[in-house]
Symmetry: C2
Subunit: 580 residues, 2 copies
């Protein structure tokens, strides 16, 4: 079977062609607001005054039209629709410098795209570190033929929060020497956390005092109010800037009849269901889990905990409450909240990742790839600036979006070469870099359409001392198959044999574990320019990403709206074109 | 004598046509930096790493070409050349939304203009509150035929500094209810101040401890090192966001042979010299003063103090030192620093203002005006937002620069009516507004060329309680004659008779005193669009300004560079023009 046919099968499988497709049209104003996200005042980016932004609720096949008005004083803004593939509308992907120019203050830009695929998605800022400033929200795309059965649902959007503002954070990270922003002050669930107080203080949790708030306080938790003997879908997304997370419910044990989580969806794709008491979730990932309620007597409340994984935490667990109907409103919970797994129990994390397989009915990936792309992840030092680099090139996103430069074939733009495709043979990933230097680059990888591409993400030791960090990699415009994870350096011609080509899950985000590798496969079936980057905001800010161009010939023929190209060299070109 | 002839005479008088005009060409990178402006770390906008930005040193007649590269992460930027009239280059005035679009991050814009007139000028950001963030520097334009005689010179750029960042300040001021930013934490001289410590601690000044720093510290003072029996020109500019200031030297008194300041220049215009021990200076103003050194025996150091006027201060005086050659480097000064005048001694301030007259040789203003424009200054409450308004309209600067809308006669733009020209007859300026409401507006005043315009700025009581604030008004693109100051409400047909039409000083900035009026006259001799606004940054941010368009017919024929119009509706128009 040829590659092209595989690709078509895949697209047909996941695309909904609804005769009754609707339109979801929204007007959004983006502006800074004073809020109390963790019971301490801070500055957030709000949408129509809401933080997090409004939840988009659409049905697969719908056209989503969002008129975004930038009400920031001096800053541009864009919004990326995380998980939406933007087939045919690559200019609506909302990645500044890649697919569009930032929307200027005082101006309105209209995003217009089809949500062709059901799933739990979210959206967020993709310019500077505006995601860290709170520019995010949920995006639910419902299936007209939903196969999951449940009685109710809750959205849980997870994020992390610093008391230092995002502008200062950007500056710290870009300073020489780099000043690290540290661990977040709080974890937020739906934009709500508790700093310096605890919902569970009466268990002497962290020695904190009890939180006092009214129900309408910014930092009062989102309570999950449930009925007995029902099934609830929890739609969970992580848009953290830094933290890898674990969400845990009270499990069955000696003193308590607890709950379980049946994982059924990941990044908008059904997975073969499996049951756990807690899930790991990395920034950029989404999950749906089904939670079956029992019938507690007397009726009571249960904890849900969210804690940090993969970095030595300095942040209290976020808490919220599963509240059975008729449970006393103000009574304390009888037991302390569950404690999420130890931060450095990586084996447990990998075990969870490896439990995820595609649900039945998804075709397997193409058997063979046409190209193999090795991306070595390193922390570097460039002219005393700390950078993250791929194959020794730290990405510097240009002011003119790639999509515009390609569309108009601007000869004035000379991109550097892309970072290279081959495995760096002599690089010892177990030690700090021998030559920590790197270069800044803006080169992109060009792919023809219909190619099957394998990407092997290779982790390595950090700049100083012994250590290796988790990097959740997110690909725009695509889902990819996660073919496997491995330890140490990828062995060319050997490790390929361990790939799961039978039922690998489709994702748009995948974790790269310390000192290990992660292999993924995707088909270049979406003409456009697509960002592929570590979803940790500071890492991206320090250059940890690459850019894929697919079908350059097709991009050159696209009817790209002028409104996305109104900056840099495309603006100059298009404005001067009219001068006679 | 007709008005037009007067105007020509004026222009000839102050314009230098130098056969040997040179070019000053500079490359600037604008970016945030961590600095210690007042011995406490803060975030400043630096130019080429310098805060304040580099001093421009040019000669009248020179062409100044500055390539400004915006290295801010997500914010636009512009630079206004305060005091330069931009004859023939109104698009280079650097007022966002008025004369140009902000320069996008990653882009370079070239300012290219002639500095036709000698004087002590400065430059600063004119977008959002970027001036508050420290985007400013000195601009010295030398006369090829300088009539002043002096042996050396020093630049003193005065500013005020908050520990709260400018983004937060903007948000506070725009919040509902408005949150006032308070008085500055420090006053800075050439970007250097001392918070929480004092150079004069050994006199128990403010109960502060003594400052300890090395000479190259960000907050070590600019020392004025002088020789005996010489004449020094101090070029003093105030770019404060809020504070009105007084600069005082140690005067002659029982224990000390002090110094005097001979005021010789104001806003780039020579004034009839007069001698004082201290000068008032409002934001937007510049002065040159001549300081004659004597021959102290033994050689010693003298204080220079800068303190707050016109607002109840909560900020320590800024200090620096006049250091005679051979004075011991590390010895303490023998006497405490001079204390600047009491903040609310307005009579003293007015006395100083009224000492300023044009130097001999300047022609008087036109005898009569063609138009009279009354601008009532009020503090208002609009939908619970605090605003400042002119004739009950609070200015909202549009995203598309006025100059571009006019150039291309864009019919899609419907400006509101300007705020009106007439005196508000029944308004009681001595009481809080009876109807505190206002409207937001973007209307502009249109003037034909060659008109003589009188503007009467009328102050009033603030929103709550009894009080009236100082507003230093700055006009772009022009000097104006200050015809007079008065108390209370301007009496139409009466107060005009008190105007000084003989030797009024030419300025570009003038103070409006509490509960009073200030009258000025200018000639509409400069085709372009010119901002006229209160130079207090928070007041401007809250709408305290108007816009003058001069010679709309000429603007429509101007060859305005596309680069200044690359935003909003002009971008759309110019980009679409080429689509065929």
């Amino acid at each position: 079977m040829s590659v092209v046919v595989w690709w078509l099968v895949t697209v047909v499988m996941v695309t909904v062609h609804s005769a009754s497709a609707g339109v979801v049209e929204l007007n959004w104003e983006v502006e800074y607001k004073l809020r109390w996200p963790d019971c301490k005042e801070g500055i957030v980016i709000a949408i129509n005054g809401e933080f997090p932004g409004p939840t988009i609720d659409a049905t697969a096949g719908d056209t989503v039209i969002i008129h975004v008005t930038n009400k920031l004083s001096t800053e541009g803004v864009v919004i990326h629709w995380h998980g939406i593939r933007q087939n045919g509308t690559p200019w609506a992907d909302g990645a500044a410098g890649v697919t569009q120019c930032p929307i200027n203050p005082g101006e309105t830009f209209t995003y217009n795209f089809i949500v062709d695929k059901a799933g739990t998605h979210f959206y967020h800022g993709h310019y500077g570190m505006q995601r860290s400033a709170g520019l995010y929200g949920m995006m639910i795309v419902r299936s007209p033929k939903e196969t999951l059965q449940y009685d109710g649902e809750f959205n849980l959007l997870l994020s992390d929060w610093w008391h230092q503002g995002s502008h200062a954070q950007e500056l710290y990270l870009s300073s020489r020497p780099m000043r690290w922003i540290g661990e977040p002050q709080s974890l937020l669930i739906n934009g709500r956390g508790q700093f310096n107080c605890s919902l569970a203080a009466y268990f002497n949790e962290g020695g904190l005092k009890e939180c006092k708030f009214k129900d309408n306080d910014d930092c009062a938790p989102t309570i999950l109010r449930v009925e007995p003997l029902k099934v609830y879908r929890l739609r969970i997304a992580s848009t953290t800037a830094l933290a890898s997370l674990n969400l845990a419910v009270e499990a069955d044990c000696a003193h308590v009849q607890g709950h379980q989580l049946e994982v059924v969806e990941a990044d908008g794709n059904y997975v073969a269901p499996f049951t756990v008491n807690d899930i790991d979730i990395y920034s950029g990932e989404t999950y749906s889990v089904l939670l079956r309620t029992h019938n507690p007597t007397p009726s009571r409340k249960y904890w849900i905990s969210v804690g940090v994984r993969g970095r030595k935490p300095n942040t209290t667990q976020a808490l919220t409450v599963l509240h059975y109907a008729d449970a006393p409103e103000y009574d304390h919970l009888p037991y302390p909240p569950p404690v999420t797994p130890r931060w450095d129990d990586y084996d447990r994390s990998k075990t969870f990742s490896k439990k995820i397989f595609a649900a039945k009915g998804y075709p397997p990936p193409p058997e063979k790839s046409d190209e193999q792309l090795f991306l070595l992840n390193t922390q570097n030092l460039m002219d005393k600036y700390t950078k993250w680099a791929i194959n020794n090139v730290s990405l510097s996103v240009p002011a003119t979006p790639y999509i515009g430069t390609i569309r108009y074939g601007l000869k004035t733009v000379n991109y550097q070469k892309p970072p290279g495709k081959k495995i760096v043979e002599d690089y010892d990933i177990t030690k700090p870099p021998v030559n920590p230097n790197t270069t800044k680059g803006n080169g992109i990888y060009n792919f023809q359409l219909g190619r099957v591409v394998d990407v092997i993400l290779q982790n390595s030791n950090v700049l100083n001392g012994r250590g290796s960090e988790i990097h959740p990699w997110h690909l725009h415009g695509h889902d990819f198959w996660v073919l496997g994870y491995g330890e140490g350096k990828f062995r060319l011609g050997v490790d390929e044999k361990t790939y799961n080509l039978n039922n690998p899950p489709l994702r748009n985000t995948v974790a790269l574990y310390p000192y290990g590798w992660t292999a993924l496969r995707f088909v270049t079936d979406n003409p456009g320019v697509w960002f592929f980057h570590c979803h940790i905001e500071p890492h991206l800010h320090m250059g940890m990403g690459v850019v894929f161009a697919e079908g350059v010939d097709q991009i050159a023929k696209m009817d790209i709206p002028n409104a996305v190209l109104g900056c840099g060299l495309t603006r100059e070109f298009l404005m001067n074109r009219g001068r006679h």
